[in-house]
């Protein structure tokens, strides 16, 4: 049932057993939480007294996720976008360039040996 790896072994059964125990402990702790909260008003988020906008308007869209990360790496992403031109000529050039590099790295050392 265990997969031997370079440094030891991996047993999904042991992992599952540990997961079930952790889940049960978490569930018990969650079950001990406060149950007498008021439904409705008390469940609403507090936005400094402002009215909560409709849920559809506050759903975070894909473009806004991880913006801090992508903004920090703007230089890298600008460069990557620049080389991903979408033009087939460039795709072919990348291929020819890499083939040339393979040639230089693999064959030339043999020639000059």
């Amino acid at each position: 049932m265990a997969l031997e790896t370079t440094g030891g072994y991996w047993s999904p059964v042991i992992w599952l057993a540990a997961f079930i125990v952790a889940f049960l402990i978490s569930y018990i702790i969650w079950g001990m939480g406060e149950k007498k909260h008021a439904k409705g008003e008390q469940e609403k988020p507090f936005l400094s007294g402002m009215e909560e906008p409709p849920k559809e308007e506050v759903h975070i869209r894909a473009e806004n996720m991880y913006w801090g990360f992508t903004d920090t790496l703007r230089g890298y992403y600008d460069f990557m976008k620049k080389i991903h031109t979408g033009i087939i000529n460039d795709y072919v050039l990348w291929f020819l360039g890499m083939a040339t590099i393979f040639f230089i790295v693999v064959i030339l050392p043999e020639v000059f040996k």
Binding site: M1, T5, T6, W15, K55, H59, I83, Y91, V92, F95
Partner: protein, 528 residues
């Protein structure tokens, strides 16, 4: 009958979908239901043959099948001691790949029955079966020229299917790019085959390997041919920085085709492994090739993962994740090849070298399953909403409960979360790569965490949040689509829970076949 099937399985596995492909347009004119039934039965038979062949190869070792002759030796004109007829050579690696190709095609076909409807669907199934023929031909053949022919069949059918549902716009552009890139790679392969034929008068891979491994007959032209083959198959495998066609093609193809395209890309990766391990093996500077593969793997992981983060098209994003996954395979295979170089033609490969190869080969199957499942879910979302822009989607878990569960399974697997299949192969890769270069292993682990963040982005954008008014009437995907996703998900969970079973029974024979160059050469030349 049973013996006849087992004996002729190497050709039946190619002939069955080929025959059905040519029959499809005829049956289509008579009955659409009849056509669907015929295509289903043909693909199912091909799947069953793949498993029969796999059992035969795992039990009895490499199978050599000669077309038009009872044995390899009988193919020769008198006194001419080289194999000249079409010879299929099926070893553990071939059947490993055949299982992947037939399984994904079968599941993709079930999915297509719901996805592809209306005018021209008969042509779709013809092309679909031709795609399967191309993959299986590449995986079964022992002949370099036939490899080229099947590569062409695969490329042409794939290009047509990428743009199948479009008459203008991006799918056509993606298809044109795919066919240009594929033609370029095929031309390089053909040129390399010409060089090798000019040098040795041989096309059979086993016989070629026998000549190439001899220092006396290893020439500069042989090295040039290697570079041409290596560069072409690396391009077709979608390794960065030659990956740019891949998100275009995967992103625009119909859902089921995107999944089968992943298997098709792996068929090119198989050809790369065949060239490196079987045809050239120790004749070339294997440690340099190992380092090149490791570098390509690392670049693919990094570029694939980081570029996926900024995509807003759901399928393009998964396409970039597929580039990163190919990176993991190349990284592991590179470490294995590097370690194999240390022991030369003989000796025993280090334990972590062997584990790296096991991890890499195991990850080929896992990549097709994980990325394939995500493409099927993406296809279902596009089918239901007619939208693939992540900025416009949202709240679909309210109406697509099962699809969202399948997405979570795919997301967890591709990110290498335990106890799913992606983790089992990745842990083999991480630990073995760590022995060669700790920093490379750390980058690979970080990229996996990054992938989880990326797929959380898709999950949040597409499935979470309130039900949006524009998708208020959307329902769950059709049952056949869900069934297809369920089949893949069940296999993934099984692979995750019983990785030792998979590695011992399916992966190890493939790895042993890759390392046994002498056995491959001997199986052909022994009969001459």
């Amino acid at each position: 009958m049973n013996d006849w099937i087992v004996t002729n399985a190497p050709i039946l596995i190619i002939a069955t979908p080929l025959f059905a492909a040519f029959l499809t347009p005829l049956v289509d004119r008579v009955s659409k239901r009849g056509r669907d039934a015929m295509v289903f039965v043909a693909t199912l038979i091909t799947l069953v043959i793949a498993f029969i062949l796999a059992k035969n190869v795992f039990d009895n070792g490499l199978v050599v099948y000669t077309l038009g002759g009872k044995s390899v030796g009988l193919t020769l004109p008198s006194g001419y001691h080289v194999p000249v007829r079409i010879i299929l050579e099926v070893d553990g690696m071939s059947v490993f790949m055949a299982m992947i190709s037939t399984l994904t095609s079968f599941v993709g076909l079930l999915y297509s029955f719901s996805y592809i409807k209306g005018e021209g669907s008969g042509k779709y199934y013809t092309l679909f079966l031709m795609m399967l023929v191309g993959m299986l031909g590449m995986e079964m053949t022992g002949d370099l020229f036939n490899l080229f022919v099947f590569l062409e069949i695969l490329s042409v059918s794939s290009a047509a299917l990428i743009a199948f549902y479009a008459r203008k716009g991006k799918p056509l552009e993606a298809s044109i790019k795919y066919i240009i890139i594929s033609s370029l790679a095929a031309l390089f392969v053909l040129f390399a085959i010409g060089l090798l034929y000019g040098e040795y008068n041989l096309l059979n891979m086993g016989a070629l390997a026998g000549e190439i491994s001899s220092e006396a007959t290893f020439t500069f032209t042989t090295q040039i041919a290697f570079i041409l083959l290596f560069a072409s198959f690396v391009l077709k495998a979608g390794a960065a920085p030659m990956h740019m066609w891949l998100p275009d093609a995967y992103g625009e193809a119909p859902g089921a085709i995107s999944m089968v395209l992943v298997a098709a890309t792996q068929a090119s990766l198989y050809a790369l492994l065949r060239v490196c391990f079987t045809v050239y093996s120790m004749a070339i500077d294997a440690s340099t090739i190992g380092i090149i593969l490791i570098s390509l793997g690392l670049v693919s992981i990094f570029i694939g993962a980081t570029m996926a983060l900024i995509q807003i098209n759901m399928k393009r994003l998964i396409g970039y994740a597929a580039v990163a996954e190919i990176g993991y395979i190349l990284l592991a295979i590179g470490v294995g090849f590097f370690e194999l170089a240390k022991v030369g033609g003989g000796g025993v490969i280090s334990e972590y070298g062997l584990k790296a190869l096991q991890g890499g080969v195991f990850h080929i199957f896992n990549d097709v399953l994980d990325i394939g499942l995500l493409f099927l879910v993406a296809g279902a979302v596009i089918y239901v909403t007619k939208e693939s822009n992540l900025n416009k989607l949202g709240g679909l878990a309210h109406s697509m409960k099962y699809s969202s569960i399948f997405f979570i399974i795919g997301m967890a697997a591709v990110s290498g979360l335990p106890p799913l299949n992606g983790f089992a192969s990745k842990i083999l890769i991480y630990e073995s790569v760590y022995k060669v270069s700790p920093i490379t292993s750390i980058i690979a682990i970080l990229a996996s965490i990054f992938m989880l963040a990326i797929f959380v982005k898709i999950f949040h954008s597409v499935f979470m949040g309130p039900k949006l008014s524009e998708f208020a009437t959307c329902k769950e995907a059709p049952k056949l689509m869900l069934g297809s996703m369920a089949v893949i998900a069940v296999i993934m969970i099984f692979f995750g829970l019983f990785p030792d079973f998979v590695v011992n029974n399916i992966v190890n024979p493939a790895v042993n076949a890759l390392m046994n160059q002498a056995g491959y050469i001997g199986s052909v030349l022994g009969g001459v």
